[in-house]
Symmetry: C2
Subunit: 315 residues, 2 copies
């Protein structure tokens, strides 16, 4: 096999990257035609898309190809989870420089496929084009299987706010990597591959969650979206937030505040949801706050004076 994607050409590369993609039961027509056909059993399809650009959303010297594939898939699958839906499939647009090793493109697709397979979803199609830098576009589809979608706009005063998944870990990993370190491994790995709490979105929907959001811009930023869409205020109880010993250690070494990472760090793809107060939230969810009449997000009753969420245009 040629070493670079330029030598292999478009159709050769498409063949190489789609060769071993397993197709799950929701796939009615897989890769290789003008379009794919996927089951949408209840007559609705959930759809979300994200674009990842090299040196902005990932660095090839920080993450290997499979890491980038896992991350690109995970952040889309998480947006499907956040509606209470079950991911069924992904399509991928891949922009590659001519000198990109074929192995890198193949590794990326393998990572995408592996992450998708964690939830039984399949990579059903894509597009490969030449680009001066690596660009990965992922669109995920999902099925609600009869449940109503959980939006950002249904939170009501009196609801409790709960989180499922890790917070602050990806930010800790980013801070470590950006200072030239490669350890501690746990936080670096968290930056490379988010650990999405798969299944928790559907679980929350079935428990009657009133609103839900994927935490990709940071807890306070994403709760701000929920507060704004729902026309409510949200207060976070700082003492209820889990600040893992690993984060404390890294923050201590770097002279940083680990609670700020938990409150504002992005890219962990945790889920945050609002539940009626009488719902007994399952163990993997942690109640971290409450919803009131009003607007905006507070921490322990006050405006938080750290950075509120991260804008992908900043930095």
């Amino acid at each position: 096999m040629p070493d670079s994607v330029g030598e292999l050409g478009e159709f050769g590369l498409i063949g190489a990257v789609t060769a071993r993609l397993p197709q799950g039961p929701d796939v009615l027509l897989g890769p290789g035609d003008d379009s794919a056909v996927v089951a949408a059993p209840d007559g609705r399809v959930v759809v979300t898309t994200d674009l990842l650009v090299e040196n902005r959303h990932f660095r090839r010297d920080w993450s290997d190809a499979a890491d980038v594939g896992h991350k690109a898939a995970a952040q889309n699958l998480s947006d499907i989870e956040a509606m209470g839906a079950r991911p069924t499939s992904l399509v991928v647009g891949l922009g590659v420089p001519a000198d990109l090793p074929v192995d890198w493109a193949v590794g990326l697709m393998a990572g995408l496929g592996e992450e998708a397979s964690l939830v039984g979803a399949s990579v059903v199609g894509g597009d490969v084009v030449r680009s001066p830098l690596v660009v990965v576009s992922v669109t995920a589809l999902g099925s609600l299987d009869g449940v109503p979608p959980v939006t950002r706009s249904g939170a009501r005063p009196g609801d409790v706010v709960a989180v499922c998944g890790r917070l602050g870990w990806a930010e800790a990993g980013y801070q470590v990597l950006s200072r030239g370190f490669r350890t501690p491994r746990a936080v670096v790995e968290a930056h490379r591959r988010p650990a999405v709490p798969y299944g928790a979105g559907r679980e929350a929907a079935e428990l009657g969650a009133t609103a839900m959001c994927d935490v990709s811009d940071g807890l306070l930023g994403d709760l701000g979206h929920v507060a704004s869409a729902s026309g409510v205020s949200v207060d976070v109880d700082a003492a209820s937030l889990v600040v893992a010993p690993q984060l404390r250690e890294v923050a201590s070494a770097l002279g940083a505040d680990p609670l700020a990472w938990v409150l504002t760090g992005g890219d962990d793809n945790a889920l945050v949801a609002c539940f009626p107060v009488d719902v007994e939230v399952p163990e993997r969810w942690t109640v971290i706050g409450s919803v009131s009449a009003g607007s905006g997000v507070t921490v322990d009753g006050s405006a938080y004076d750290g950075a509120a969420g991260h804008d992908h245009f900043a930095g």
Copy 2:
């Protein structure tokens, strides 16, 4: 409003580009949440994706923002048509340099929305990120409304081959633009905005088309995909191909062969389909060849010695 997307920021830009996107009847939940929800009335969804990279798939000095939006939408909607499906929705990933005028991004989204509205489809979601050059990722969804998908693999010996839509026009426009001219306007416009024969894909499916393909890589290249997927050979009758006077004029001025543009030019997004011989093809379809046992594509019984299709990695 700030002049550049860098000044406006991610959330501001998202607001600006999604402000006036009309939502059609298939949209159950539109832009603004983690994901959108779209109707898939027969329990299946058709999905396709394309990635357009500045200076490879479009040039900002050749096409205005609305042109790029129209083209990005059209080439995806055409892939939905080519399955016999009806487009319902698009999601868009947009990579923008900080110095990109806000008007350009807004114009792009307006072009996308206008093209989608030609078929009653809606832009239901997207992602906006910073990128050193403009990147547009479009994913289109469609509904089969109970008809079976028309794939590339069903052509049978004895079928006739028919084409609907223009061929060679986008290539003629490209040749004109690449020599620094801006006229004739008709071919330049064809390069900027393909004229997809909307509705013809469903029409072909209902008439019993055995195979169908969008002509994006060039007629011979795309017929090669059909021949290969179906395990048949296809012969094109050159005399049956329409070579419009406008193409003859441009080719004459440039010393080129207009038939070569018709046979191998890409990006017109015509449809080519195979039909059982007893089907009376509607007037907008032109019978251009036939299917036999064997393999490969010929023109008037012989291998074509021009360039066979275009590889998006070339040039």
